[in-house]
Symmetry: C2
Subunit: 318 residues, 2 copies
Amino acid sequence: MVMVDIDDIRAAAKRISGRHVRTPLLPWPLAGSQVWLKPENLQPTGAFKLRGASNAIGVLSDAARASGVVTYSSGNHGRAVAWAARQYGIPAVVVMPDSTPAVKVEGVRVLGAEVVLVPVAERERRAEDILAERGGRLVPPFDHPDVIAGQGTVGLEIAEDLPDVDTVLVPVSGGGLISGIAVAIKSLRPQAKVIAVEPELAGDLAEGFAAGRRIGWPHEWTARTIADALRVPLVAELTWAHIERFVDEVVTVSEDAILEATARLAISARIVAEPSGAVAPAVALIRPEVASGRTVAIVSGGNVEPSLLVRVLTEYAT
Amino acid sequence: MVMVDIDDIRAAAKRISGRHVRTPLLPWPLAGSQVWLKPENLQPTGAFKLRGASNAIGVLSDAARASGVVTYSSGNHGRAVAWAARQYGIPAVVVMPDSTPAVKVEGVRVLGAEVVLVPVAERERRAEDILAERGGRLVPPFDHPDVIAGQGTVGLEIAEDLPDVDTVLVPVSGGGLISGIAVAIKSLRPQAKVIAVEPELAGDLAEGFAAGRRIGWPHEWTARTIADALRVPLVAELTWAHIERFVDEVVTVSEDAILEATARLAISARIVAEPSGAVAPAVALIRPEVASGRTVAIVSGGNVEPSLLVRVLTEYAT
């Protein structure tokens, strides 16, 4: 297994420069005078996923890239691959479950990618079939060193902007984001803590981390959380290897805390997060003993249904 | 009259560095592939005003600064002065109308400033009385070269990040922001257009600019717009001098366009703007012939009532 290191992340930073938004750290006084947000919801596709996708495409040779890329994702990763492929001027195919809401399908199509709709269980196989028929490369959502290195640029930027950071709070689904960030932070600021955050209702990593081995949850369990980007029920082998080695702690937050944090981010930090993007800030709000010292909370994405945003604002902020 | 120049703005940038958020440019595909947002709503006080306040306080000698600062404002400028004063560890007095909503009074008090509530017509006189009694310096909201130079750092950052910018869209109230930005842009990229934007219902500058002289509107007229930070009914002499010399055009937008832009910013750019902060983006959305070439629209602030945000999302985005 090839572990990602800080040189991979530095190379990724160079590769994606100008293709992503260099997000600033935003002071978040509501959660304390030593808390900052890293607003990855401000990426043009609305989530950090752009970094990994851009790096995975950028690292290809011109010849390999020209034959295009394929991925499977109904959410932020599919959109990120479509965006990055368009920037490079190459074709992209995004395989999506036929249950995907029309608005998300359109969000990918408008970026110029071809969308293939299939029954959810057939997603990966269909992606492989397309690769076999047409050629091209697969850009997986998290289980790949180039994707992890791209996401790690978030950690590199945190260390640049706040060299004396003490705690970094990172949401976890498949584990690509936290793997990359943990490598960057532990390389540049070894004494800082990297803390993984999950919804209680999708706490597969929390259970596995406590047990010291990779533990999967049934899809039906993780499907219960409102944080729909965090429903992957098992981290990958590759991301587990990084998490086991570099992550200090895994904490979980309630659905109520996630929704409240979504509302507070909109009013007091003036950014729109999707519930999945609010789980790390939720820890800074409600568990100050975890967010100790100079703390950065990652806001991983902001693609929220307007009706849900209205609901949380009505319930928690008015 | 002392005109602000690019050296003043460069000095301001050095002075406020580390005391404000260095905001990035955000691509805004909804308005076209050549439109970017400059999200000043992400400043810790929720508006660009922090820049001018920090510069006006930073420029004082240590001895002058120690005696504190005074200002009059019910809104974003009062909050900015309170924040900047706290950063410098000096006392601040903010004179506010006794009609100011409690939540805004508390927002200033929580930053450690003393709030003095007076009938609205007595604001400036009371501020002068306090200065006469206690000493200290006045930090006016826009009618001062140090404040204009501080706001001009927005323009400097735009020219750094997008050196070939063609059009910059800037909201106008008292004129401090556009004066500073226009000086920076015309110094660094003379062929770019700087366009002022007002609500139709507070179009005093549009009328004056067309007539070639400063024209004031009655308070009752400008009070009609939902964009409450843009209700100043007459630009200052100093800001007029900058606007007359450096601004290319003044355009106005309807209340409906302002509210729609507020909703679109939340959903498609994932940032929360107050209506005043959405008037420049509104032009990019609905008047593409004005937003020509590589265009930057300033999002000046994001301090919106949750109930209003709910209303615009319900009406325009669901």
